[in-house]
């Protein structure tokens, strides 16, 4: 090779090196963010992330859809030993205790201090932050919070000769309305619910009834479930009876029953508030919303928070942590929280956003968006039963619950036996968890 040519090559290589170094200096810090938002939620999330990246050229949040909540958690667990996990991971509320006990997490309340800042946590909606707090300290960033409420099809109500502005308030009315609607022949079934496990937890909380001991696992690890009593049996009896009458149609887990409601096959749906925007867009009828139905004569509690929150992986560089924190502050910004709420139906988590929405008349435009708020803000929040359940093996326990409910509905087991079976299986899981994590 002649020397001229080799000089040229060396020169080129040096230039390459120089430019790449220059690029590296201007390169933003990557913040990886694993989430479980699919469907209409995904688009809203992505536009929020794009907004952050544009406003903060120093950081680049890279969102990655990692499947359902449980798949996301599985991936996060798998990535943990090799330290290849994300900076931020979204987890559902049932994963809360697992995350707290994992040792893989930096609690969010510590982050401002680590960066030499202070932050007022009271600016968030209290029932939401309560759920994710341990001894008053917030562990994960509230992001997509929802609760369960009643959706109903006003057109079907009218066709069946019912007042479309009088949705059922109690389970007794659910039954009466159900019988009337069935008799009118407008639909074959009257109502269904998403997340049957969570809907049961709501039924307990809304009547201030504990799910597990040690204050729902909030004052210490729970050792056993306590819903297998008269009250629990009554709920199971009611649901089984309504099912036998054809009023309640079991529509599967999560969001599967929404299709039946959206297409006018059923008149009512008990579902997460996060489905609101999706349902309003999909339905070609007038959608009504109301509070979760009550059992008359039982104490008042509150509906509990569901959905997900954002967890921060431990052991990040200060630079990355700052990026994470900037992103969290961005999510709390009024306009962003409002964008998220309007796009999905999840609660806007900050009080400022709530006021702005009120001022601009959003809630009077569409009252459906107010229902869930009034529900959680009007309930009590001073008891563990009304704050929500926190259990280590909660994911597996919920499955035990659903399979028992299915057995009761199919008539395979009596409601009481089914509930006892669920409790027994769940208690074993709680004991195993205690054995591993016990104090």
């Amino acid at each position: 090779m002649n020397s001229k040519k080799s000089y040229l090559i060396i020169l080129l290589l040096t230039l390459c090196l120089f430019f790449s170094a220059g690029n590296a200096m201007a390169e933003p810090v990557n913040i990886t963010f694993w989430h479980a938002m699919s469907g209409s939620r995904l688009g809203v999330l992505e536009s929020i992330v794009d907004g952050f990246n544009e406003a903060n050229p120093d950081y680049e949040v890279v969102p990655l859809f990692t499947g359902s909540y449980s798949e996301t958690l599985t991936k996060y667990v798998a990535a943990y030993p090799s330290k290849t996990g994300p900076n931020i991971v979204q987890s559902y509320e049932v994963g809360t205790q697992t995350m707290i006990d994992s040792g893989a997490i930096t609690p969010v309340y510590e982050i401002p201090g680590m960066l030499g800042e202070t932050w007022d946590w009271a600016q968030y909606v209290i029932p939401i932050t309560n759920y994710y707090s341990v001894e008053g300290n917030l562990w994960s960033m509230p992001f997509n919070s929802s609760t369960a409420m009643l959706y109903y099809n006003k057109d079907i109500f009218e066709e069946a000769g019912l007042d479309p502005n009088k949705p059922p308030t109690t389970w007794k009315e659910m039954e009466e309305y159900g019988e009337e609607i069935l008799a009118s022949g407008v639909v074959n079934h009257v109502y269904s619910t998403g997340w049957p496990d969570w809907i049961f937890e709501q039924a307990l909380a809304i009547h201030n009834h504990l799910y597990a001991d040690n204050d729902n696992g909030r004052s210490g690890l729970a050792t056993k479930v306590v819903f297998d009593d008269d009250f629990g049996n009554m709920i199971f009896d009611t649901w089984t009876r309504l099912h036998d009458k054809g009023i309640y149609v079991f529509g599967g887990s999560e969001y599967a029953p929404n299709t039946a409601f959206n297409s006018g096959q059923i008149a009512m749906l008990i579902q997460s508030t996060s489905s609101l925007a999706g349902i309003i867009n999909a339905a070609d009828f007038k959608v009504g919303t109301s509070f979760y139905p009550r059992f008359e004569g039982y104490p008042v509690g509150n509906s509990v928070i569901g959905g997900g929150s954002l967890w921060v992986t431990k052991g990040q560089s200060e630079e990355e942590l700052r990026g994470v924190w900037e992103f969290f502050k961005y999510l709390s910004r009024e306009d962003v929280a409002i964008q998220w709420h309007k796009g999905t139906g999840y609660f806007p988590v900050s009080l400022g956003a709530l006021k702005t929405l009120l001022d601009e008349g959003w809630f009077s435009q569409d009252q459906a968006y107010l229902t869930a708020f009034l529900q959680i803000l009007s309930g009590r929040r001073d008891t563990a039963a009304a704050t929500g359940v926190r259990l280590g093996p909660f994911v597996a326990m919920r499955e035990d619950f659903v399979s028992s409910l299915e057995k009761a509905l199919a008539g395979q087991l009596s409601p009481e036996d089914a509930l006892n079976e669920a409790a027994e299986k769940m208690n074993l899981k709680l004991r195993d968890y205690l054995e591993l994590h016990g104090q």
Binding site: V77, S102, F250, G252, A260, Q265, V402, S403, E406, L409
Partner: protein
């Protein structure tokens, strides 16, 4: 290694087989050994802390009514997929082997199902049977007034899932049976015809025995399919429900290991499945090689 076979190449043969050996060790032997070890422990979700529990994971599985019924479900399901599936496929393959007009179209149309991913197949079947919105419950309720809900009827759910799994495997089975049938020499069948055998007799006495290598191969592949590969279908359609009615062993393993993050129990289950499947496989291969007619 016999040195005379590869004169002057002492190390080369080892180097040549090394890649396969490394793959087998890294991806099969080591994980297998690890999961046997883990089956004696109980661990936290993130694997940060484990306790040795001896045989407890196994004892609990065998004591659990749920696990035993999952074994029964798996055998019922496999029997359906293997027996009904192979019988229908053979019937269809026989029909497709006729010299009729447009047979190429029929062949492709029926083999098609194998090209569909489990997810798509699951979604198709699940929406066909969706309780409130599906076509089939609608037709059934119009005809008989009976409301068909496989989300609360376990036997029905198992049947539908098994039917979907069988349907999904039809194409694969038909391809092999068709190839086998086309290898049956026409002279044999003609000779039988001349000897006065009817087509039914000719099929059982000549075609079916000559097909036996194909049949025993398909038996084995379908068994593996029914045990291990229907996971996607189950996950999309029923997630093991209602009330564990469609919880096959492989699906239960997945739920316990990856959703409930209980690696101890999942490892014990994987070892049990391994054990069961090895025995069935040995048994089946022995019978198959003894009974099959490989040469004619």
């Amino acid at each position: 290694m016999n040195e005379d076979k590869f004169p002057g190449h002492k190390i080369l043969p080892y180097i040549l087989i090394a890649p396969s050996l490394i793959v087998i060790f890294v991806f099969l032997i080591i994980p297998f050994a690890q999961s046997i070890r883990e089956s004696f422990y109980t661990s936290t979700a993130f694997g940060t802390h484990s306790i040795f529990v001896g045989l407890r994971n196994y004892v609990r599985l065998f004591a659990s009514q749920e696990y035993r019924s999952s074994v029964v479900t798996t055998f019922k399901f496999s029997a359906f997929v293997i027996i009904i599936g192979l019988a229908i496929s053979l019937g269809i393959a026989q029909l497709l082997n006729q010299k009729i007009k447009g047979v190429g179209f029929y062949q492709i149309a029926l083999i098609w199902t194998y090209a569909i991913s489990p997810t798509v197949a699951g979604v198709i079947w699940a929406s066909m049977f969706a309780p409130a919105t599906g076509l089939i419950p609608y037709i059934v309720s119009k005809i008989s007034g009976y409301s068909l809900n496989w989300m609360t009827n376990g036997d029905l759910a198992l049947f539908i899932v098994a039917a979907a799994a069988t349907w999904k495997m039809l194409g694969y089975n038909i391809v092999f049976f068709l190839a086998g049938l086309q290898n049956v020499p026409d002279e044999f069948l003609e000779a039988a015809q001349i000897d006065g055998a009817g087509s039914w007799k000719a099929f059982w006495r000549i075609t079916f025995p000559l097909l036996s290598p194909t049949t025993s191969f398909l038996l084995f592949v379908n068994m593996l399919y029914a045990f291990f590969q229907v996971f996607g279908l189950i996950d999309i359609m029923t997630r093991g429900g209602p009330g564990n009615a469609t919880e096959l062993l492989i699906y239960k393993l997945y739920r316990d290991g990856f959703i409930h993050l209980n690696s101890g129990s999942a490892s014990a289950q994987s070892f049990i499945i391994f054990f069961v499947i090895s025995i069935v496989a040995i048994f089946q291969l022995r019978i198959a090689t003894r009974k099959s007619i490989y040469s004619r």
